[in-house]
Each structure stands twice: as C-alpha cells, then as structure tokens.
Chain length 240, copies 2
C-alpha cells in the first residue's frame, strides 16, 4: 500500500497475545500504527518489555509509553495485577466465565481508551484499535461489545475533532468475537511471533509464564485448539 | 445529616471557581466527598495548590492527586495549557463562543472522568461530580450535556459494579446549565471562599491572575453580573 494512502491508527499494545494480533491486523488493514502502552505499576512488568518487542517487530511507526502514578490514589484499590493478592490458578473455563476475577482493574480499559483518544486527536487519527475479547474474556465488563460501542459514541462527543466533524472516530476491536484459537490462527497467518508476547499474570523472575493462571490457561487452550505449540517460555517447560 | 446515612462521592476538583462550587454543592447534598485532582504538567500549577486549599476548606474527607506523565506521549500535543503557546487575551464573549480555543486539551475530561470512575469503584461510590459548564463554557466539546450523559452510560457498562448491578453510576454536573453569575451566587450562599480558587490560564509568578484570558474574563464577568467583588488576586489590582 502506498505511503500516502495510509491512515494513522493508535493501537493499544500490552505485549500480550491479543494486542500483538490486533496490531498485526491493523497493519494488515493498511494503517500506520502508533503503538501505546501504559506503565501503571502492574505487577507483571514483563508486559512492558514485551510491548516494546511486539511494537517494533510488527512495524509500528512509534511506541509511546504513558506513565500513570496511582500511588496517591491508593493504587486504585487492591487487585491481583498490581498488588500482592494471589492470582487464581487452575480455574476451569466454567469458573472463569462465572463472574469478575480478582485480576480486574477498575475502569482500566476506559482509562486506556481515553489516553488513546487524546493521542489520536493530537496526531489527527480517527482509528483506535484495542484487543479486547468477549468470548474467552475472563469476565471483564470492559471487554464487551456494548462498552466498545458506547466508548466510540463518547469519542465523537468528547473531542474537538468529533465536535467539529473533521472525521468520525472508530474503535476497532477486531478480536471481540473470536475464540482464542482463531486469534492465534489469524496472528500466525499474519506473521506474529508469539514467542515475543507475554500473557501470564504471575511470571517467575525470568519472565517465564506460570502455565496455571487464567491468562495462561486461555492461551494454552487456544494453541491446543488449533494444533500449534506455544513458543513462549513456561516455568514448566512441558507446558508450551 | 447523620454520618451513616451519607453516601460517598468522588468530586473532581481543579482548584477553580467551578469545581469549588461543585464540591460545595455535593457536600450540601449530603455526600462524603473524596476530592480528586490531576498533575498532568499543566502550566498553571497554582491550580494544584488551590485544589488542596479548596478540598480542605470545603470538608472533603480526602484529596487524591493522580500524576499523569504524558512526556513520553509528546505531552499530548501542544496546547496553551501545557506548553509555551500564547493564551488568547481580551476575547469578546462572541469570539469565545465561536469554536474551540487553543486551551483545549484533547480528551481531558474523558481521562479525568475515567480516573474518577476507577476510584469510585474502588471505594464503593456511585456518584461522581464534575464542574463542567455548557453555557459560559469557552468552547470545550467535553463540557456539553450529551458528553456527560454518554459517559454516565459508559460508566455503568465499563465497571464490575455496574455490570453486576450493585448500583447505578451517576455523573453529576450541577453547573452545566448555569451562567457564571449563578454559579458564583450559589457558591457564595454555600460559603465558598472564592479567594482560595484559581481560574487564570496565565498567572504571574506569584499566582496572581492576568485578568485578560478567557477564564479571567468569564470569572470577572460573573462577579460583575451578580454585583460582587472577586476576592482573588489580580496582577492589576483594579481588576477584581
């Protein structure tokens, strides 16, 4: 695709499997991708390193990391992703689908999309990509289609670019109704190296995945479903 | 009002006239107010000192300051509130009402409300107060009623508390259809000391207001309309 015909997009990149696939899809759709990540004191900081590798390897034109210091706001409550609360392990798919897990961070996707929106407006982009998934979604309310649709409406009301009719913001959630296996198949076809991605909620000191938290369970199940081997490093080498 | 019958509310407090009045209204409505402010590299940092004074004097149960470092994201573009761009001066009411001024910060209220929402969910509050005003609103898109209504809908979709039906989030914007004079009259009746508040976009090194930017013009006009004297310090002492 010719350089001048490309549109800019802001792509939220956590360094995980879903957001890496989303970035690959956005690039494949012809967008010049501006990757954005957040340093918000998450316990699994290997995510941030993974996000840098993912952004670079998938041709993002830049990678912006926004630092949010919530310590003065009590770290926004205790949850298993920012605090020393036990990450649940070896939960069945039924248990995962039933209710909101302790890894839920209040209003996280609302905050992340707000920053993506502000940055999009600054660079003149109207397309924002987020790798939320409502199927194998582990119970987060801000991963569902009505949330995404409502944020899209908000984006057009909230901004000068929207209010002045310079364009229509579109929140792309290309994975929202895919199963994990489909996501992995799609990304593999688009050349994503999943060995670069980090999904585990509870990695060891070398960044190796635990293989037992919800994120690992969903990921390993997805690779199994499509008959592929997860190239990521696991504490127990037999996992991948 | 008895302590146990009070509900918690998160109140966005910038240190300006509008948010001080909003905090007074929330307190008068019987809420236990959790004040929240942001340090986002704004040029007029006297706001943050003012927010502390305002929160304390109006009986907030706490004051949380969230730090957002946007430097890695290009400071979210250049605008007259965070950069060395000239703040417009001595604009007529007609000019102010016509279009979005250079003091607009992309998606600012969306970001601020997102943090208020996250904190509200953590403390179990369902009420969020913001001092936006759509009448003398200086042209910001994210100060209009449809934006507030849409964010309220989003809040109930975005959160575990909303998704699980533990309560309904309500975004209160009590000033939204008031003229500046009405706001000042309301706050004065509720005991707000406007000498503590800071509105100017371009104060001098001592925090004294310029008297000529849009914020000063609206504020001074409001005091004139209700026949009161602005107790704030101005560079030209004749202003207030």
């Amino acid at each position: 695709m010719a350089e001048e015909s490309q549109r800019d997009a802001v792509v939220l990149v956590s360094g995980g499997l879903d957001s890496a696939t989303t970035l690959a899809i956005a690039r494949d759709g012809g967008y010049r991708c501006h990757a954005m990540s957040f340093d918000y004191g998450q316990r699994h900081r290997f995510e941030l390193e993974a996000s840098r590798r993912v952004a670079e390897s998938l041709g993002a034109v830049e990678h912006r990391v926004v630092t949010i210091d919530l310590s003065a706001a009590g770290g926004f409550g205790r949850n298993a992703l920012t605090d020393e609360i036990a990450v649940p392990k070896d939960r069945s798919a039924e248990t995962m689908a039933d209710g909101i897990p302790p890894t839920y961070v209040p209003a996280r996707n609302t905050m992340f999309l707000s920053f993506a929106l502000g940055y999009a407006e600054v660079i003149g982009a109207f397309d924002i990509f987020i790798g939320v998934n409502a199927v194998d979604y582990s119970g987060y309310p801000d991963c569902r289609p009505p949330f995404i649709q409502c944020f899209e409406r908000l984006a057009n009301l909230a901004t000068a670019a929207g209010a002045e009719g310079r364009g229509m913001f579109h929140i792309h959630a290309p994975l929202i109704s895919m199963r994990k296996g489909q996501i992995i198949r799609t990304g593999t076809d688009l050349g994503v190296d999943y060995g670069m991605t980090h999904s585990c909620y509870d990695p060891d000191g070398h960044g190796r995945a635990c293989g037992h938290c919800d994120a690992c369970a969903l990921r390993l199940g997805g690779f199994r479903d499509v008959g592929l081997t997860d190239p990521a490093a696991y504490v127990d080498a037999a996992e991948g």
